[in-house]
Symmetry: D2
Subunit: 297 residues, 4 copies
């Protein structure tokens, strides 16, 4: 397929290389041109602007740092809006805001162009090893056309609905999950270090008991299914354990703000009569706060 | 080995059965006697009190709901303190407070008895399938004596140091990790539901990208090693993404208090000059808050 | 009145002096005896134990640092339980736990003695200037007997119900209000300093607009009355302003975790359909979380 | 003075009336014209657009709901940028974002016009009673010219520096203080209600002990002066009291997330060696988090 690619940073460069390796014809563009040279050596044509990279292309992918980097690439004088053919697709792989994704959807539609959001999960090493996971959303016809490209980037693909910005919501939610797990780990390491436990020991346990076990996905399944009964472990017992964790945190002088937050949600659940439900009923409390239907009855 | 076992609830009963199956001689006690009957059928002797279960035993395990349940079993008239032989070991598998664990350490020592804390990770199904993970701490000699029993309970074992209550800190930290992951998932499901994404879709993505990948253990490794440079993903980029997640949360009216908490920690890190470090530097911030050495310099 | 007084620290010493000045007969006790000497000079008798201070007294007041200090004074060998006459009253002015206050209620009742909780608001300067505010709870007959003493301590008195520990709940709630105001001020000072505003300027504004105006008590009145309509200022406008404050906090790199917390509560309110109510509807949200009647319907 | 006034809602209408009453000549504009009629009756001229209201005026004040309302009034076809004379001043009283305030500063400067930000504290009743408090920032010469107008609006005025957006930061910080106090009160009312204390009783106490006493301004003074020693009340005692408040919250099942947040900050302070400083040292912790100079040494 004839493809344009804009943004050749730590992520973009190996992604473009993956497309070349899969046999596609590539015109690449990067603001600082020297980053394009290695790809030229692999057979890519080097363009002088996003619009030039888009000329004659069926699909143009962009992989940029943030909203600020995406805006001139699309809306600028030699940007994609100006350069993309009618009916061609802009596939935005960048982690950008929901708001910008919706602006892009509208702007491309007005220009007779198509827009697919396809942010990726994975660090630069994963991009190099074609181990990214792609989350795509957009008009079914367009996503289908891009499948060969998206599949060439990584190990897997999740296709969402017709509204491109949904993919951005999912990408941001995923990064939030990582950040949350890191915060939880950070607090747990601080507490256990103050209790005299070597970080390597707790790390080993985390690997054995959590990371390489289905525990997290099992709980995710309960929350997705809103299946809070029968209780495998009752909310009121979870409240007890979080209370004991906070007591330990106080005794060892290791503040655990995330533990406090979760404790208070458990306490809310018990106060509202959910103490005998499974502790994954946290899912219902979050849904209630969001005003999801039936939540507050 | 001649063993006593006190507490035959959802967890205790299958654990006692595992010990019987491993060939040990068991005297069991439960407050409501009928729960002991199935074990009698499997060859256990049924005792009339904790002290009676302890008579002649080399080791007595207890598996009870909380501090309140453990106290009479140990300190009561026919409790373990009264009934355990000199030199015999009380192995406490219950999830109890650090404070009670330290009281038990002292009380047994004064009575010439030994004490090991060995809480377990796993739900009742795991107990039945001998898939628990045991975390043990106590005098090395005592832990070693109990190894055949602890290994018979589950799929693995982590041995900590000589201070029994360390095992309780680790158990509480583990339950805190689960609760945190559930809260993060709950908020992510609420947000994505409000953005029109089916829970099953987000669940599938969670499985593929997070639960069945080494992402969490990789970050745990960075925090354990305090290795925040070179940055695979810089803190200031993480701040940007959490900000975008919160913008989406506001637009879709799905409150995300955990995202807010983590966002503020990222902002603190950037304000304190850590913006170019890896976003796992959350670990240093938590350590700073706990006053861990060198943290605030 | 013949009165005992135990605990002559920064608060207790001037309180005891106030009672002497009001004409009461005092026997005082302090663990380190030298603190009692100035009161002896003012006419107090110095006792060798709490029990001795209680001998013949109609009322004994205690003013100690915390639960740990109160316990031996009451339950110890020469403690108040042992020394107080039948029908005499123990007035506990210390800031102690609700749990200990209830234990004291029971223990004194079993000993045929009376118990009143009467914690005080005010710092040592206020104690010296007889400007404390006393919050008393207990059997009406007992509180009435103690009125001349309680009124001699300060500028005012609030009498609650018959359950002494209610006074402790109120005292702890009051200290929580101060701590919360300090946290809010701390975050506001940090933000405004980073925006280049001198602390004295913001302080001056705080004095003029908030501290010396009825703004806080007006809002307290709305929450107490659960009167959230008509809206003087709508919740959705408050959400907008908190959002803008957080935007400023991000731009100036001044983390505001309390602002984040309140923002998320505002967002919850709007998500649950309360956007047009007065922003003091935060009161309903807190009540909902506590499961207060009708809250979640 | 010849003055324009744009925005005649609950706040703007009485503010415009105050200017008329002070003897100024007014041209007023409101999107829905009928709101201007009462002012016409009081002597104002009714303009057909913001630009028309600005014609010949020395100063134009705007009082609008939010950024979205301000933007067309300034940047629109018949907006202030187009209509304001060279050298005339736009005084923006609306509660808008810091970012928009800076855009307005730049845009007016480029057009040879002046810009002052002057948001106001007070509800509609205060506007009617000329009891608002105005916070103004901008070039000294411009603020001085506007003083007669700003003084006519309310009971007092705080003048900040030359950068207009500082006034917006202060206004947003003030609303944050109110929201925080309301959240603290909400949690305190929920706890005390669950402990059986009538809201009117706690309200009465709040009035006597807090609202009508200098307690809040005294603490604000300590934080502004960064004067954390000698300790009137030590941080570690504050930690104890917040812990007891949280214990009560748990016992009565009344979640107090703000109390948890503040508790964790106290614990951080104690863990970092500040336990003997005054509990207002929360101010230093917030400054540390913001990376304020010297903060983490």
């Amino acid at each position: 397929m004839k493809v344009g690619f804009v943004g050749l940073g730590h992520m973009g460069a190996p992604m473009a290389a993956s497309l070349l390796a899969a046999g596609h014809t590539l015109a690449v563009y990067n603001r600082s041109r020297e980053k394009a040279e290695p790809l030229r050596a692999q057979g890519a044509q080097v363009a002088g602007s996003p619009a030039e990279a888009a000329r004659g292309a069926e699909v143009v992918l962009t992989m940029l740092a943030d909203d600020t980097a995406v805006e001139p690439v699309v809306f600028g004088d030699s940007g994609l809006l100006a350069g993309l053919e009618r009916g061609a697709v802009h596939v935005s792989c960048s982690t950008i805001s929901v708001a910008l994704s919706e602006r892009l959807t509208d702007a491309h539609a007005r220009a007779g162009q198509e827009y697919v959001a396809a942010p990726v999960f994975g660090r630069p090493e994963a991009a190099q090893a074609r181990q990214l996971w792609v989350v795509a959303a957009g008009a079914k016809r367009d996503v289908d056309r891009c499948l060969p490209l998206l599949q060439a980037l990584g190990r897997g693909l999740t296709v969402l609905g017709e509204r491109p910005s949904q993919a951005n919501v999912v990408k941001l939610s995923g990064n939030f999950l990582i950040a949350s797990m890191m915060e939880a780990l950070s607090e747990a390491f601080a507490l256990t270090r103050k209790a005299g436990i070597a970080p390597e020991t707790f790390l080993e346990l985390f690997r054995s008991v959590f990371a390489r076990s289905p525990v997290f996905e099992n709980y995710a399944g309960l929350i997705a299914a809103e299946k809070y009964t029968p209780a495998g472990f009752a909310l009121r017992l979870g409240l007890k354990d979080l209370h004991l964790a906070l007591e330990a945190a106080r005794d060892f002088q290791a503040p655990m703000p995330l533990a406090s937050l979760v404790h208070d949600h458990f306490l809310e659940g018990v106060a509202r009569g959910m103490g005998a439900l499974d502790w994954s009923v946290l899912g219902r409390l979050a849904a209630d706060r969001a005003g999801l239907s039936g939540a507050t009855q």
